[in-house]
Subunit: 457 residues, 2 copies
């Protein structure tokens, strides 16, 4: 996967906002090694099952010229004694380091985040959603008590939900994962689940309460306030470039991307419309003044006066790129003191006075952000279906998709059976689950509340 | 190498400033893959000699449980058809991508930067200076003409020099590398060279004019304005976490780090001095008002009211961490309306009125930034020695160190002979070299100007 500049600019905006939110909640950044000795993965039993399998393995550290003159080959003498794994996630290397950082409760909590690339060898890749290498952030925190760690895991899933809803304009369901879907080595996994326009769910961020599993695996103990020794409590949490996939799939239409203004690399594009070159100078003068006023309000704007492309080409190009607002301005506009404003989300156009245009645009950007969210919210509402029977469940799954709200008996066996038969999984047990007596759609056993099923990426 | 939070915060400040300067000079960020197919390295002949040797090689993509129950092993069936190299630098993967981005002069220039981790398998590592994995940025630009590319390479070495001098408070010599010291695949390498306090030089950033070498290796052609086909012209340029090493080695003293205010994670630390807990409340109230005033001026400040550590411990700790300014405040100060201000660079202390303290601190931070630069500049001046003979050269090298300014005949053979005999290398042919007739210190052949030799990291 190559992330081109326009896409990367969106990722930079995501990073900047998330990093701000992490720091506001007391976290600091650090950096740990890309390569993890193979033996580290054997230390936490369930973690190795879940993670240490489909990994890139470094076995040699040198190339050499082929003695037969056929390019370069791996030097057989440069074999590593212990193979190195390219990190699929960093719990093991980080907890082996925390062992040297933590002696007493005074060293806790450790609230560290890392921005990094990770590699998981995927047989079937899908751009942004499932790529061998991807970019992400991974928080790894260490605490003196179980309760503190649980609060941290909850805090971070809430930070993720706020970010995705307020900045990506994408509503999410917050909840707990069932045992089957938990992170390898976690006692509890919290998730945010979003719905894509094809009716499939996308897990968009997770936060894990790891208990003392990694502390025990790497022997990380501390002396508590009472002077007694205990193992440290852990969380980890992450979001990745998968969020780029979510952004694309949740809001795009047939004309291309639709970007929420808060994450658009530039929020406004201005296109001059002219026939003679002389006209451009007058237009540009007016545009310069509009650009200054927009920038003064913190609105990012691009003036595209490239003369090798026609306005029609530019209109299509910026629609494709999802620029929230397009302003077109021609000789007639100069006479009338107007501009044409087009919004990307609804494709509506309007002729607007140049006077106070900056305030108009500012309000319009807010309105677009809100409208994109509302559209996604309404879509999800319409695509969330309560069902009472397994027949109904299968019917909705096949003909409609979306989230299916249903009773489940709480057993891994039932979840697995439903998955085997329909491919649907439990996306989460929502935090706001309403207590309700019911019967499991599959086993008929008693249930005390509904969970959300869906087909998922 | 693990980069702990305090160190990483310095790197984040460096990144933010460099990224700003790159964007101001028209660059955008993108991201390219970590893994490069082995065959890519065979395509540019001199590049493979210089880079594709000491590399981490991925040969397998799966682990499995050892059938004999001894932990996990590499799955022998999961061998890659073509080995993947963990990028030591990204010219090859990026130019193989640029081939698909460039058809015409309209697609040029491409001004792309990447923030990434890279791996070079080093036998002898040295923290921050030479580590197997390190963090860096690598700019890779593509141009329609040789002149444009040369200008870009010069522009970026100037950006680096400005950054290192103005933000790191470290004077550098800008110049060209001799052929022996050029980047593998470059026609010209520009460098900034800094002097460490042990008299050794540190290459702190390089910018390369790559000619059409990579375009030819990866067959990247374009149609120019005249409708003719030509190969694209290239540059690349990078600085890395090695700059952290430069910062530490250039300014530290026996008490620890000395950070220039512009890169300090926090510029001011405030330590309360009190005996009874009641006194702390009154101190904290005053400190809160000082903190607000400092923050309003954009000064970053930490109030350390941790009651498990004594003031003496805190003083030593923040000296070790190089915090530019320490403010101490006790009951006596409250009575007198004063605080004690200590500056890290000179270790001087002064009692200062609380009135207008924020303006005093603002000026003090500027003075510290300037003083740290001046100290390094004066040191370098005293440690730059012109010599006329090889005897003198060896004498200075052995007994004094630093930069040695000497005549050289311009041949790789002479440079190599001097290196073999003394370990000194030509750090650069300075941009501001003064034309001067002279004789090479080694061969006695004519020379038209002096170059800078030194022992280097």
């Amino acid at each position: 996967m190559v992330i081109k500049p326009y896409g990367y600019a969106i990722w930079e905006k995501m990073q900047a906002q998330l990093d701000k939110m992490f720091k506001e909640t007391g976290h600091v950044n650090a950096y740990f090694p890309l390569f993890i000795p193979k033996s580290f993965f054997s230390k936490e039993a369930s973690h190795v099952e879940g993670f240490a399998k489909e990994c890139a393995v470094v076995t040699h550290y040198r190339l050499m010229n082929d003695p037969n003159g056929k390019g370069i080959i791996v030097d057989p003498d440069a074999k590593l004694e212990e193979e190195l794994i390219v990190r699929p996630t960093s719990e093991t290397i980080i907890w082996s380091t925390y062992k040297t950082w933590i002696q007493s409760y005074r060293d806790l909590p450790i609230l560290v985040n890392q921005w990094a690339n990770v590699v998981r060898w995927e047989m079937r890749t899908r751009l942004f959603l499932r790529t061998a290498e991807f970019l992400w952030q991974e928080g790894h925190t260490a605490h003196a008590t179980s309760q503190e760690a649980m609060e941290e895991a909850e805090r971070m899933v809430n930070v993720y939900a706020t970010f995705v809803e307020e900045f990506m304009a994408l509503p999410v369901i917050k909840g707990s994962k069932s045992a089957n879907e938990r992170f390898a080595g976690a006692l509890e996994t919290y998730t945010i689940e979003a719905l894509m326009q094809d009716g499939k769910a996308l897990q968009s961020g997770t936060s894990h309460f790891l208990g003392q599993n990694f502390a025990k695996a790497f022997d990380v103990r501390f002396t508590n306030k009472e002077g007694k020794e205990d193992f440290v409590w852990a969380t980890s949490w992450g979001v990745s470039t998968r969020l780029m996939g979510a952004l694309i799939m949740a809001h795009s239409d047939d004309n291309g991307l639709v970007l929420p203004p808060k994450l658009a690399p530039f929020q406004v594009v201005i296109v001059p419309i002219y026939k003679q070159d002389e006209q451009l100078a007058a237009i540009s003068e007016k545009v310069d003044s509009i650009v200054s006023k927009l920038k003064a309000l913190g609105i990012s704007v691009k003036y595209d006066n490239n003369d090798t492309k026609k306005p029609g080409w530019k209109f299509a190009e910026y629609e494709l790129k999802g620029v929230p607002v397009r302003i077109a301005i021609g000789p007639r506009d100069l006479e009338n003191g107007t501009v044409e404003v087009a919004r990307r989300d609804t494709l509506e156009k309007q002729v607007v006075s140049m006077d106070g245009i900056e305030l108009y645009i500012q309000q319009l950007l807010d309105a677009i952000q809100e409208n994109i969210y509302k559209k996604a919210f309404d879509y999800r509402t319409g695509m969330t279906t309560p069902v009472e029977t397994y027949e109904e469940f299968k019917e909705v799954l096949q003909n409609k998709g979306g989230f299916i709200s249903a009773h489940w008996d709480g057993t891994p066996e039932t979840e697995q059976a439903i998955k085997d038969e329909t491919k649907a999984t439990i996306r989460c047990i929502p935090f706001d689950q309403v207590p309700e007596e019911g019967k499991c759609i599959y086993s008929g056993k008693p249930s005390k509340g509904r969970v959300l099923f869906a087909l998922a990426y």
